[in-house]
């Protein structure tokens, strides 16, 4: 391997690592706040990328059907509960939020031809289609069992994951998609060509991480999420409900996932099931951080990106084996480091 190849691989690894880092942060956030190990995180990546690709290809993204369906189910569940509780005034509001907004979105999609819209608007539309799935899935799949053990929540996560994979196949087909690059700019660094798209991915990731930092450190809602992560009972007693914290963290996770998907779709071809492996690599990073430390998780994820990139050069067939086997020494190190004493 000469320097040029090393730099190229490094560039690749860094941009992938930046995406894994974003996902790792989302995973740590969701776990800390809700105790959910969010296996379907990767599906949001795939849905984000494929929804954008559908919009650009002038097809109606299947995601809109999912948003409409989930909205209707939530309206039915919440509405019937409100009926039983004789809280009739809440019903119009429930229907408006859960059915009205998705219908409005659908109307927009039918009315305009998305393919002709400028890129930023397409991206915004894609985010508006994918992000609501986060809180909706939380409401339907997780909230009814929010008090269950981590293991039950994990099995729910796996179930949500396989469901979304099937739905992804139904909506987007088995064909992969790649969106055109956001920018054609490139820079020369010595002999190496630095791709503008790569720089964009890294910069956008850094900006998002900084924004998240400010959200958690400076806003009362961010502090409320941190408080829930530290002490669930204490937070509830302050009126920070688990549902609110759950919805908020799933919205953030879905945004991060969809945004990551949109960022990498010009670099990699994304299939309906690509998200899972991408998400799991974020996981390896998150586990390096013990599912608790944001900076270590992000650093671990970048390490995973680099490791993957260089191992694809040395032993391309065993790339995945190497990355996922990495988790075992990490777990070993974690198990030596943490001594687990149950609460008396």
């Amino acid at each position: 391997m000469d320097l040029q190849i090393a730099l190229l691989l490094g560039q690749d690894g860094l941009s992938n690592g930046a995406i894994y880092a974003l996902l790792a942060l989302a995973l740590v956030l969701v776990f800390a706040v809700t105790r959910v190990i969010f296996i379907p995180q990767g599906e949001f990546v795939a849905f984000g990328a494929l929804t954008l690709a559908s919009l650009q290809a002038g097809r109606l993204p299947g995601t809109i059907w999912l948003v409409l369906a989930l909205g209707t189910v939530i309206a039915l569940v919440d509405g019937s509960r409100a009926l039983r509780g004789r809280q009739f005034r809440r019903i119009p509001w429930i229907v408006l939020v859960n059915c009205g907004i998705p219908l409005l979105l659908a109307g927009v999609l039918f009315a305009v031809s998305a393919a002709s819209l400028p890129l930023p608007v397409q991206v915004l539309l894609a985010l508006m289609l994918v992000v609501p799935l986060g809180p909706m899935i939380y409401r339907l799949a997780y909230q009814p069992v929010a008090e269950a053990s981590v293991l039950v929540l994990l099995i729910v996560s796996v179930a949500v994951h396989v469901t979304l994979i099937g739905i992804g196949l139904l909506f987007f087909g088995a064909e992969g998609s790649r969106t055109p690059a956001f920018t054609d700019v490139s820079f020369e660094l010595g002999d190496t060509l630095l791709q503008g798209q790569t720089i964009l991915v890294v910069v956008a990731s850094v900006v998002l991480i900084v924004a998240l930092y400010f959200f958690f450190e400076r806003t009362i809602y961010g502090k409320a999420l941190r408080a829930t992560a530290m002490n669930r009972t204490g937070a509830r007693l302050m009126g920070i409900s688990g549902t609110l914290a759950g919805m908020l963290s799933f919205t953030l996770a879905a945004s991060i996932g969809a945004f990551s998907g949109i960022l990498i779709s010009p670099i990699t071809t994304i299939y309906y099931d690509s998200g899972f492996l991408i998400g799991l690599k974020g996981f390896v990073g998150a586990i390096i951080g013990g599912l608790a430390s944001y900076p270590v998780a992000a650093a671990g994820a970048i390490l995973v990106g680099l490791l993957e990139s260089y191992s694809s050069f040395w032993a391309s067939a065993f790339k995945e084996v190497i990355v996922f086997t990495l988790i075992i020494p990490v777990l070993l190190w974690r198990s030596l480091k943490t001594r687990h004493v149950e609460e008396e």
Binding site: K223, M230, R236, L237, M238, G239, S241
Partner: protein
């Protein structure tokens, strides 16, 4: 601090009738009835394991109950929840304090006002100044992490955080737990001070003497049932209370 100024002194804030709580098939509380008026300190004393903490957790909505709870004149129904009760001004200072350990004193206090902020009241900074007036020690420690506070300061922070919600009913669970006698004295002095502000207080204590000294009315809870009640000046001299809770194996 209460927003109910101007109402009569003897308004009933909380009334509980025939309240039972069970864990699985086991009854932890049975047939509890009690009343708390505005500006009054009511205490529930009793031995460990009698169900005192269970009572408070049930009142604040952390546990499902059978029986009747009337809070601020409104009968609580099946839809009651911690969040709703907090919004209506009921606040619990739990036995374990439940502070946000890795956050500063200031942020802990700020989150005490979270629900008021959400409801549109943006007066958290003024409220915080009021809390600092009551607990000047918190002012000195405002930048410190909650985890680094001493036991007494933690209790002050827990109470200060609860006051940030401008409560109408404050539920205090064993504020003396694990504190040195001098600190206990300070905490209980503050509790009497709060009463003057018009907050109704339900105080659960194992330290019966201190609790009966600050409260107006008291109940004795034993193995999940109320066995005795009365004005505290009567309880302090009641031989059954003296023997079981005020003396150290009194009759020897």
């Amino acid at each position: 601090m209460s927003e109910l100024d101007g109402e009569g002194e003897k308004t009933v804030v909380l009334e509980v009738r025939d309240l039972s709580v069970s864990y699985g098939k086991v009854d932890a509380l049975h047939g509890i009835g009690l009343k708390v008026h505005r500006g009054e300190i009511v205490t529930v004393i009793g031995p460990n394991g009698a169900g005192k903490t269970t009572l408070l957790c049930a009142l604040i909505g952390l546990l499902p109950v059978r029986g009747e709870i009337v809070y601020l004149g409104e009968r609580q129904d099946a839809g009651r929840s911690v969040e709703k009760l907090v919004r209506q001004g009921m606040t619990l200072v739990p036995e374990k304090r439940e502070l946000f350990a890795e956050m500063s004193v200031e942020d802990n206090l700020l989150l005490g006002a979270f629900d008021r902020y959400r409801a549109g009241h943006r007066d958290q900074l003024e409220t915080m100044d009021d809390v600092f007036d009551i607990f000047p020690r918190l002012m000195e420690r405002r930048e410190q992490m909650a985890a680094t506070l001493s036991g007494g300061e933690r209790q002050m922070l827990a109470m200060g955080r609860a006051l940030m919600a401008k409560p109408r009913l404050l539920l205090l669970d064993e504020p003396s737990l694990g504190l040195a006698p001098l600190v206990i004295r300070e905490i209980f002095r503050t509790i009497t001070q709060l009463k003057k502000l018009g907050v109704a207080i339900l105080l659960v204590e194992q330290n019966a003497r201190a609790a009966l000294q600050v409260a107006d009315y008291g109940y004795v809870l034993e193995t999940g049932e109320l066995s005795l009640e009365g004005p505290t000046r009567d309880l302090l001299t009641d031989p059954r209370v003296v023997e079981s809770y005020l003396g150290l194996g009194g009759r020897h």
